[in-house]
């Protein structure tokens, strides 16, 4: 049994982590601020936080010496048949191999048995196959600490202008070709800087030099060392911790005939690679020879050098690779198979090459609920389950299933927000008035809402960090939550609204006040009628307009809206480090800041210039981004939180709903109390390579 993380400890640990956790001796033993002697690394995934925090992760590690490697029987057969080199030739030696001993919560892993298959629901989306298989530059623990993963170590110089990555000698691509510094220079100069991967916008490798965008200089020091050099200091938050920067490699040996040198994708001068001289048409034809179907070079580039896990045949460093058998080799296939990577570079404490299971099977279903049926009949091993279905399913299945509860980082459920950049001054002024927001918050009886919409499962709450997360504040959680109709009405009158003959408030100039709540894909269909009666009871006339999600996004982007029920991009999250855009108006992303975000994203070319507290958020964000001082960063973030607490630009009525999974009890090493967040790559935190099925 795994110990449950005490929420106070998580909170403390997360607080420490937002500054920056320094890890020692972990999978490469890098410390972000100090140079590490790679010869000394004991290659066990041992994590210790620098600060004196009590986390289970720090206390549950032990050192493991790995002597000799073992492999799965199916691979041993292939070795015996002469189809595959021996395991010692396939994976890095004991100095360089990654030894996985603990899960992301710090729980000690069991030594597993080989074989079997883990059945999952459909892969869905562009990222579905990557979550359980992707190996990224670094990996996070639930307490926010992190360690080098694919790379052996990372370090930086004193002024943060030069970052050095060391690679694992002897590491190979899934097709057996060596993985070296050349694959990094190839990715950077041929795929990334040409924008072939469509992601040249990544801030991790970009900086501002004299008002112009400039990109890092990448140098190959030797086959297993590269350096990234910047003109200005490049702090961890903007580089190694940046959520976009998950990889910086591509299989040069496989992709070199797929890179065009054309008007849209011109060759970028560098000392390592020459122009391929290929036209866009050549490249598409070459792709077709590799069974890659793409209509445009943009699609091709994004497929092979960005969402590469979705393309059958592209070598990867991931734990599982897409099958090449037609019918099972696409995420759109009814049964999509990812087979174990025979060259995977991680082992368990006993030296057994990971992953344990032979394959991941993704079973596509067409309707909600089918996966639950398949889970019940044992055809699927792991599913996401809604809170309301848990009790019945568990009581039916008894010991055959186990529950896994994930911490969430959302800021409360049943959120509404307003368009603060509405072009109608009446609305913009009204929304800017805090009293109006308070009235909209307290006119609702949260207890009744909880009963009506969640059978009392979710408690009343407010829009802010939830218990157990960074920035949790009990006062914030209860701010403007007392149900008080009279007070709400007097607040509304204080906003200059006047009661009309129809029983609804009007603007002072006599024009109608109508809160048309936008919602997408029917997510508010059930809840809106409940809220409507409260709003109307205090004299706020309102309506619901449901749109299909892309039309919804377009309406938001066009600034053609008044209010939103259930925003597409909710305010807040785990921390700024996780993803800053939901916290501060810096992108064309979240509803709660509307056009203010566009202003920052376009450097003032479009959008509305933020003022007051909105402007303060941006100011603090820039300061936060441009400092290496942990203490300062923590302060800036705390200030940003304080401004949010003060303003409550979004209102939530109930606490956040948790994220739950049911797993087949035979599946072992599946940690409980993981955290679902973008920077942790959601299900990636499960570490599928260590899961095994008990015999």
């Amino acid at each position: 049994m795994r110990k449950k993380l005490n929420s106070k400890a998580v909170s403390l640990a997360l607080a420490a982590a937002t500054s920056m956790s320094v890890l020692a001796g972990c999978g490469g033993a890098a410390t972000p601020s100090q140079t590490t002697d790679s010869a000394e690394t004991t290659e066990t995934q041992e994590t210790t936080t620098e600060k004196e925090t009590t986390t289970d992760i720090a206390s549950s590690t032990e050192e493991v010496k790995v002597e000799g490697f073992a492999e799965a029987p199916m691979l041993a057969d292939q070795v015996a048949a002469g189809k595959l080199p021996s395991v010692d030739e396939r994976i890095p030696n004991s100095d360089n191999v990654f030894v996985e001993t603990v899960d992301a919560t710090g729980g000690k892993l069991e030594i597993g048995n080989y074989g079997g298959v883990i059945n999952l629901g459909g892969a869905g989306g562009s990222w579905g196959l990557s979550r359980p298989s992707l190996e990224s530059i670094i990996r996070y623990n639930t307490d926010g600490s992190y360690y080098p993963n694919v790379i052996k170590s990372f370090e930086h110089n004193d002024d943060y202008t030069v970052w050095t990555f060391k690679l694992r000698e002897g590491m190979k691509w899934s097709d057996g070709e060596p993985f070296t510094a050349d694959d990094i220079t190839f990715w950077y100069y041929m795929c990334h800087l040409t924008n072939f991967d469509s992601k040249k916008s990544w801030v991790a490798l970009k900086e501002d030099v004299n008002g112009e965008d400039a990109w890092a200089t990448l140098k190959k020091v030797d086959d297993y060392t590269v350096t990234w050099t910047f003109v200005n200091p490049k702090y961890p938050a903007d580089f190694i911790e940046n959520g976009d920067f998950k990889w910086c490699w591509a299989p040069a040996h496989y992709l070199s005939d797929l890179i065009p040198d054309s008007e849209d994708y011109p060759y970028v001068e560098n000392e390592y690679w020459q122009s391929t001289g290929l036209s866009e048409e050549d490249v598409l034809a070459n792709a077709q020879k590799k069974n890659i179907d793409a209509a445009t070079v943009k699609d091709l580039g994004k497929a092979v050098s960005y969402n590469f896990w979705n393309v059958s045949g592209v070598p990867t460093l991931n734990s599982f690779v897409l099958s090449t058998v037609p019918g099972n080799s696409s995420k759109d296939d009814t049964l999509c198979i990812m087979d174990r990577n025979p060259y995977f570079w991680k082992v368990d404490a006993a030296g057994n090459q990971l992953p344990y299971v032979d394959a991941l099977h993704f079973n596509q279903t067409s309707e909600d609920g089918q996966d639950l049926l398949m889970f019940r009949s044992g055809e699927i091993d792991i599913i996401t389950i809604a809170m309301k279905d848990i009790a019945a399913t568990l009581s039916d299945l008894g010991d055959a299933a186990e529950l896994r509860e994930w911490g969430t980082t959302g800021w409360g459920s049943y959120q509404i927000t307003f368009n603060y950049t509405n072009t109608d001054k009446n609305y913009a002024d009204l929304f800017a008035n805090k009293d109006f927001r308070e009235a909209m918050s307290i006119c609702v009886d949260r207890k009744q809402v909880s009963e009506l919409l969640t059978d009392g499962f979710l408690e009343p709450g407010q829009c802010g960090p939830q218990e157990g997360n960074v920035g949790y504040d009990a006062e914030w959680q209860s701010k403007w939550t007392e149900y008080d109709v009279e007070k709400a009405k007097s607040l509304l009158e204080g906003c200059g609204l006047e009661m009309g003959a129809d029983g609804f408030y009007h603007f002072a100039d006599g024009s109608d006040l109508m809160l048309t709540f936008l919602a997408y894909d029917g997510t508010a269909d059930e809840s809106y009628p409940v809220f409507e009666q409260y709003y109307k009871a205090v004299g706020i006339n309102c309506a619901l307009k449901n749109l299909e999600v892309s039309a919804f996004d377009e309406t938001i982007d066009n600034n053609d809206w008044v209010a939103v029920m259930g925003p597409h991009t909710e305010i807040g999250g785990a921390s700024l480090k996780d993803r800053a855009a939901p916290f501060v108006p810096i992108a064309q992303a979240a509803e709660w800041y509307g056009e203010y975000g566009t202003f920052y994203a376009t450097k003032g070319a479009q959008g509305v210039e933020p003022t007051g507290d909105m402007a303060k958020l941006v100011e603090l964000y820039d300061k936060w981004r441009l400092t290496s001082d942990d203490g300062e960063r923590e302060e800036y973030q705390a200030e940003i939180y304080k401004i949010h607490k003060e303003n409550l630009w979004s209102i939530a009525y109930l606490k956040s709903e948790g994220f739950y999974e049911l797993i087949n009890s035979k599946v072992k090493n599946y940690a409980d109390n993981l955290v679902t967040a973008d920077c942790y790559q959601y299900a990636n935190m499960t570490h599928y390579e260590v899961l095994f099925k008990a015999e």
């Binding site: 990222w127 598409l284 179907d293 445009t296 009814t334 309707e367 089918q370 892309s550 377009e554």
Partner: protein, 362 residues
Amino acid sequence: MSKNSFADGLREFFRKDLVQYIVKRLLMFIPTLLLISILVFFVIQLPPGDYVSAHIAALATEGELVDADYAASMRADYGLDLPIWQQYVKWVKDIIWTPTDSAYYRLYHSHHNWKYSFAYGRDVWSVVNDRLGLTIGVTAIIMLFQYLVSIPIAVYASTHQYSVGDYISAIIGFLGTAIPNFILAIVLMYLSYKWTGNANVGLFTQEMLKNGIHLYNFGDFLKRMIIPIIVIGTSGTCGIIRSVRAQMLDEVAQQYTLTARAKGVSEGKIIMKYCFRAAINPTVSGLGGVLSSLFSGSTVTALVLNMQIQGPVLYKALQSQDMYLAGAIVMIQAVLVVIGVLLSDIALAFLDPRIRYSGGGR
């Protein structure tokens, strides 16, 4: 009658007026299909936004943010930034004839460019083709079941009007029609789960999806076909039973039947050779839609039962505004309906010589 009556029949059948009729009908295909293609193309574009906005919304849900420049260049690449009529003209032109010197031809060696499915990241034709065989197979089995079950029942019910058997078949038939397919599907899946521990979701077991269908697992496949056959089959049978039964009752009361009976023709011959042949007409003219449904299958039921046939592909394509894929499927369906109607008209003429094609009395 002479020995050559069948050959004579054929000769009589393909008489001049019918050939002219067929040619006329074939010529009418062109404006009909053009009109349909315009309708299809514009209706698919009706919802606000396009594939790019739908795609970006989906990426945002996964946590990937895409900047406006990327969206704009994606639109340009796909030609979505052109005025809609230009997009339409290009679409139709490329389907009809893609020249040999085009990039598409060099890549795919085909003169018919159905364009590209954004969501699947593949040539539309390859996506459609993937599920074609299975869709036709599954739908054919189900239709065969429908006709094999419903027609004998209808004949029985009409010759035994108001008997217990007639009532029972009516009740079952009405239930089959009245219960929405998706509810019946859910109920059957539930019962299957309750009784066997397996809900039988989907047409295939995982083993079949991995290793393909062979003789040794064909039994399992048939087991999986039970629910779809019951659900889709029963919904159609009632219609056929009722119409054939009503027609049969009409025919049985006709003068010629009485005459035949009076002349001592056997009852079996009267029913099968005369009454049934006349009663089947409406069913045959209804076959026009069969080709099209063979191609697409039943969408809602396929979704509920997780059947890997064409219907759900179209549904998803419409949802994600994958317009060329949706356009191709709807267009092919339309073509098949038009062809199906023609074929059913010809079949009708064969069945019932009284039907004439040229105008005016003879």
